[in-house]
């Protein structure tokens, strides 16, 4: 067993491992002021600063074209940055070609060498490092074992399913024990079930090895589920970086609030540390927010939906309930999403248990909970 977690902690991997986390043997990665200018002057990356701790899994999340893949490719050395520095373990690797950076990479499209067997694919990186044949075969076999494909070494790429191909690609990327693992939307070509399975497996292996990992994805669920920290990107910049729950519950910008999860955009007014949204007054995450006209973003699950009580219709009840009318509703398995219209015409989406089945035009009451995930000044 050459490829096993204990080996990762061998002295070969110099790192500032803290005593609290003995498993961590990964390298630190830092991007400093990375700018990537395209021909024509447009910026694919517009000043990326990112510090990744050893053993951490950071997800770069964003819509297509936001620069997340470019950032990964700059880190990998497959593309050069116009300005900025890439540091791995504190040393500047900006000038190094991809093959000298000691990274492992898994690509979005199937990237197994079609003319080689799975085993030979995994061996390739070791071959490049002139590892003797016996050791090579042993380590490649172990790596395939690790991704659950022990018996598939003799198969060619076209004899493997998409998920299996990505597993082999993962084994191929890890077998050289690289300093950093880069995953470029490795799951996007797979079907939903396999995607979740492989996502969890990537996370398990990543934690087992403590390998520093950057995971590019446009799928927020993937990012939130697998990452230690999520960096939400937009137009070549990082909009917010933080733990998944922080990103979700305390969005730094309207973009993050709307891109990660779904949000209701509501107009309101901040005064005295609270925000007034129509008939309701909600607390603020940041009570020091200056007064003024704002747009607030409220999660569908932060709104309770209830059948209209026996009270006179139209009059808001004392408990801060807001009357609304059901527009449409859709069943989503364990829960339901219902679109409602407030009396002032504002349309909101509400998430509620599936056993409550509102019908169109039914009068309901809404109850707001918690604070809006983001509040931004309206110009």
């Amino acid at each position: 067993m050459t490829l096993s977690p204990p080996r990762r902690v061998a002295p070969a991997a110099p790192s500032s491992t803290t005593a609290a986390e003995p498993r961590t043997a990964g390298s630190s990665v830092e991007l400093r002021g990375i700018v990537k200018e395209l021909t024509g002057g447009a910026r694919a990356l517009d000043g990326i600063d990112l510090v990744i701790e050893p053993g951490e899994l950071v997800a770069l999340l964003g819509p297509s074209g936001c620069g997340k893949t470019t950032a990964l490719r700059v880190l990998a050395g497959l593309e050069s940055a116009t300005a900025g520095t890439v540091l791995i373990d504190g040393s500047d690797v900006s000038g190094l070609p991809a093959r000298s950076r000691d990274i492992g990479m898994v690509f979005q499209s199937y990237s197994l060498f079609p003319h080689l067997t799975a085993l030979a694919n995994v061996e390739f990186g070791l071959r490049m490092r002139r590892v003797p044949a016996d050791e090579r075969r042993l380590r490649a076999g172990d790596a395939l074992e690790m991704v659950g494909l022990g018996g598939f070494g003799g198969r060619y790429a076209h004899e493997l399913s998409g998920g299996q191909q990505q597993r082999v690609a993962l084994a191929r990327a890890l077998v050289t024990e690289p300093r950093v693992l880069l995953l470029d939307e490795p799951l996007s070509a797979l079907d939903a079930r396999v995607r979740v399975q492989l996502r969890d497996e990537i996370r398990r292996i990543q934690q087992e090895f403590g390998i520093t990992t950057v995971f590019v994805t446009h799928d927020q669920e993937e990012a939130l589920a697998a990452a230690d920290r999520v960096a939400v990107m937009r137009s070549g910049r990082i909009e917010q970086i933080g733990a998944p729950d922080e990103i979700y519950s305390r969005a730094a910008t309207p973009f993050v609030a709307e891109f990660v999860g779904s949000s209701n955009r509501m107009r309101g007014r901040v005064s005295g540390g609270t925000v007034q949204l129509g008939a309701v007054r909600l607390p603020l995450i940041d009570p020091t927010q200056p007064d003024g006209e704002v747009e607030a973003f409220v999660r569908p699950e932060d709104i309770r939906l209830a059948r209209a009580g026996g009270g006179a219709s139209g009059a808001p009840s004392a408990a801060g309930r807001v009357p609304a009318e059901v527009v449409s509703t859709s069943f989503l398995g364990s829960y339901r999403r219902t679109t409602v219209a407030l009396e002032d015409g504002t349309v909101l989406t509400v998430q509620h248990p599936a056993n409550l089945v509102p019908v169109a035009d039914e009068r309901v009451e809404l109850e707001f909970e918690g604070a809006p995930v983001a509040v931004s000044r309206r110009e």
């Binding site: 093959r99 492992g104 990479m105």
Partner: protein, 318 residues
């Protein structure tokens, strides 16, 4: 020349698409199809059958005889037929050198353009397909002064013709390699290899070449077929190859010339069948999604001697 034009049309992705489409849309009716096949078959078969009939004629006395075929296979190719042996040898050497020139220059260029300079793709395609549009006679006018320099550098050996032939086979070679190159995600594969520590030579020889092997083989076969059928350039630059030798011999003994032409056709046929096998045959175990990397299949690159007669006379006039 006509052979080159015909083959150019049969080349490239269009053939692939047409074939795919036939599976989806109902084509012409079975009867129509058979009529088309019969007409085209006759067009090809009549001249070939006539050539065969011609070689079997018993001379003025009438009747048929196998004597000439026996002479050709029975070591009769000495003496006055010597030029054919020389021509054939020269053509084979030329074919070999042409394939080498083509592979060494074209493959790395195409791979590099595909991976690192995708913007040059159009330019490269244009340049590579250009020779098809330029008649050989025109090429030679330009090549003549070039070859005075070539002769000074490399001597006047017949093999130097391979430089010119390398240009002529470019369109065919380009098309077959390109078809294969497009079926493989070379960019991702090369990036994967780079991330695993491979340098450019490794990527070219260990990753790209094995995956476009079929395209390379097809390109090589087509190059061989084109070179064996080339007449104009060799004739106008005063070199002896198979075709010029055939013309010379046909002046003395038209029967033998036609026999050799027939044999050359058979050889070309075998080559083309081989290409077909490599291209779309049961050996396509490699990838499910990729379209069959149908190599360019020129129809009759080996111009029969009769076809080559005209430029010979022009040369003689000159």
């Amino acid at each position: 020349m006509s052979a080159r034009e015909v083959s150019a049309r049969g080349v490239g992705p269009r053939t692939v698409r047409a074939r795919d489409r036939s599976g989806v849309h109902p084509g012409p009716s079975t009867a129509t199809r058979w009529v088309i096949v019969a007409v085209i078959g006759l067009l090809f078969l009549v001249p070939i059958a006539s050539m065969l009939e011609f070689t079997l004629r018993g001379g003025l006395g009438g009747g048929y005889t196998l004597d000439r075929w026996a002479a050709v296979f029975g070591g009769g190719l000495t003496g006055e037929y010597k030029p054919i042996v020389t021509g054939l040898t020269n053509s084979l050497v030329l074919a070999l050198v042409t394939v080498l020139v083509m592979l060494v220059l074209l493959v790395p260029t195409m791979v590099l353009v595909r991976i690192s300079f995708p913007k040059l793709q159009r330019v490269l395609e244009f340049v590579c397909l250009l020779p098809i549009t330029i008649p050989a006679i025109v090429l030679v006018v330009g090549l003549a002064p070039v070859y005075s320099v070539v002769a000074r550098m490399f001597g006047s050996g017949v093999w130097t013709l391979a430089f010119a032939y390398g240009v002529i086979v470019l369109p065919y070679a380009y098309r077959s390699i390109q078809a294969n190159l497009q079926a493989v995600d070379v960019v991702t594969l090369s990036e994967a290899a780079r991330s695993l520590g491979a340098g450019w030579p490794t990527i070219l020889f260990r990753i790209v070449v094995p995956n476009i092997r079929r395209g390379l083989l097809a390109a090589a076969f087509i190059a061989v077929a084109v070179v064996l059928g080339e007449y104009t350039i060799a004739a106008l630059l005063n070199r002896v190859n198979l075709q010029t030798a055939l013309v010379v011999v046909s002046k003395a003994d038209p029967y033998i010339a036609v026999i050799i032409a027939l044999l050359a056709l058979v050889f070309a046929f075998v080559l083309l069948v081989a290409i077909g096998r490599i291209g779309g045959g049961p050996g396509s175990r490699r990838r499910r999604t990729a379209p069959p990397a149908a190599p360019a299949v020129p129809t009759t690159p080996l111009a029969p001697a009769a076809d080559a007669d005209e430029p010979a006379q022009e040369a003689a006039v000159r």
